[in-house]
Symmetry: C2
Subunit: 339 residues, 2 copies
DNA sequence: TTGAAAGCGCTACCAG
DNA sequence: CTGGTAGCGCTTTCAA
């Protein structure tokens, strides 16, 4: 009872024309006479024909899918960007293929390797990632368009889209200093990630610059913080609060992501401390939620819609011109209640 | 300077065997003698060959990609489920193709139509959605395996995975009654979505059952609430608070999603009211964040990891047996501080 | 403009 | 077990 797949050949036969004509009609590569066109359309309707995208791109070496490799889909930061990207892709008839590597570099390399079996000319967007230069070069050599997103590493013949991460940290430190905080701590995730490392380094620089002492000792980082951030930062902060006198902890905190900040806030709240009274907190990302929690979170906004849009534009331009480009997007500090 | 794509033919030539042998070696369909195997592997390494997935599935009519159609990626509910699914898919060498339809039924149909050009035998997972029966039937007719997720609509020859939405609402109403709330309101999104409608209907039933009067008047629903939930529920609640005396509003609220609940909480907070003192709130979903906000949100948990896993199992079973199945997953109420 | 024919890179089948 | 060969469904020459 299984209906046989309708092919272009059948359509051609039904319409009494050649497959070439049907193909031309479908793609508009060459114009087709009105009568034939009508017959073909009729056949398509009658037979309920849909072109096979696979066969099409096999032959035409031109795939309409964008591959996205991301740490995971559990972080709104990525999903917002990808959403925006998908939006543009959709309008242009592209589809988006997503995979996650859960912050494992081994796994990332594996996925990258898998991508090697996709059509040349496909676009590949890689979020963060590390220790992957070799695999990336493989892809580039296979003529894929790779775009490095939200990371600093530079690989030859790839494009990149990033947020500015130096100046914004300086501004954050200055803001906290101006608000009167005498000590500032940095709560940071896994520093193998380039942009987090950048924020860490800039933090130390800025602290020196603004006259704080021993900034190195104010950096709190932990591998656990890159996974299940909410829970682990909560646990970490809770531990800090239980094992230190309040006076010995920084009065203000910069968290390298809003998730971290929110987890910390929970721990601080539970201990009976107030924000921003006892501790000031600023985050990074400006998640949708960050303006709705209590107190509302001060954070460095990274415009994700813009990022997604930029990504799409780079994809398109690379297809057209084959040229790579490096783009740096600004961050903006959103001052709310938490510091 | 562009490197020509390495094909199976070249590998065969280089290794001094036939393409068939290389294919057999690669797929393990038929065993290959050790010497030949070694030669082939050598050739693969030397030439840096990667099989073309497209050509492979064109020929074998067996695609290893799962298509997911979701309202969007901005809701952690979906992304958590998809994350879990991706995890299983990844382990089995499948890839996941995601598109969003932004809650537009027209757009959903369009995407569904596009999916028609994918390989027969592919799996398609559709989250929510409505007015799409015709397109779904088309896909089924083309021998695709379609799985309806988180929706009640039944279409012949499709599988489905859902949460139980009737009993859980009864339990919620009972919980609030037992906590002493005299009036309960329901804050609900767009009711074209089957599961939301189900919650609404169950709410009215449950309210009657537990002796509340005029439950129909306690239903607050608005189309705006399905998009940008956080902001729009905040705005809606703010409006309600400004245009009604506190005594005239329900003392307890059931929101059909945590996002809605969080937006409402913000509005209540801003007005200077306390939770759960002045208003009790319960949500639906149990987002990661819901246990970390202030006050911690009581909510009906829908185990998203389990949902994703179930989805994957259904995909696999459909591929193996071709049989469809209907699965209903339980919800669990997580009692925290907000009521 | 149109039809015929030659593949895209791979798997499946067949004979040996 | 192996090599040869016929396609999967489509696009793209190329002549007509």
């Amino acid at each position: 009872m299984t209906k046989k797949k309708v092919t272009i050949t059948q359509v051609a036969k039904y319409a009494g024309v050649s497959v070439g004509t049907v193909s031309n009609y479908l793609n508009g590569t060459v114009s087709v006479s009105p009568e034939k066109a009508e017959k073909v359309q009729q056949a398509i309707n009658d037979l309920d024909y849909t072109p096979d995208a696979l066969a099409s791109s096999l032959r035409s070496k031109n795939s309409k899918t964008i591959y996205v490799l991301t740490p995971n889909l559990r972080n709104a930061f990525y999903t917002n960007i990808i959403s925006a990207l998908m939006e543009y892709a959709y309008k242009a008839g592209y589809s988006v293929n997503i995979s996650g590597y859960e912050y494992s570099d081994e796994r990332e390399r594996k996925q990258l390797r898998l991508l090697g079996s996709c059509k040349q000319g496909s676009s590949v967007i890689i979020f963060n990632g590390y220790n992957d230069e070799t695999e990336i070069r493989r892809l580039v050599k296979k003529d894929m368009h790779v775009i490095l997103a939200d990371r600093q590493t530079f690989v030859k013949n790839t494009s990149s889209v990033n947020y500015e991460n130096h100046q914004v940290v300086f501004e954050l430190v200055r803001l906290l200093k101006e608000k009167g905080y005498q000590t500032i701590g940095l709560m940071a995730e896994l520093t193998e990630l380039e942009n987090i490392r950048k924020r860490r380094d800039s933090f130390i620089e800025a602290m020196h610059y603004y006259g704080f002492k021993n900034p190195e000792e104010c950096v709190f980082e932990d591998k656990s913080l890159s996974l299940d951030k909410l829970r682990n930062s909560y646990l970490y902060m809770k531990w800090l609060l239980e094992h230190n006198k309040k006076e010995n902890l920084p009065k203000a905190w910069i968290a390298t992501s809003d998730y971290l900040a929110i987890g910390m806030m929970r721990a601080i709240n539970e201990k009976g401390y107030s924000i921003p009274g006892d501790f000031g907190i600023v985050g990074f990302d400006n998640l949708d939620l960050s303006g709705y929690i209590n107190p509302r979170l001060t954070t460095a906004e990274q415009d994700q819609e813009l990022f997604g849009k930029t990504l799409w534009e780079v994809v398109k331009r690379m297809k057209q011109t084959g040229k790579t480009e490096q783009i740096v997007l600004p961050q903006k500090i959103i001052i709310r209640e938490s510091c």
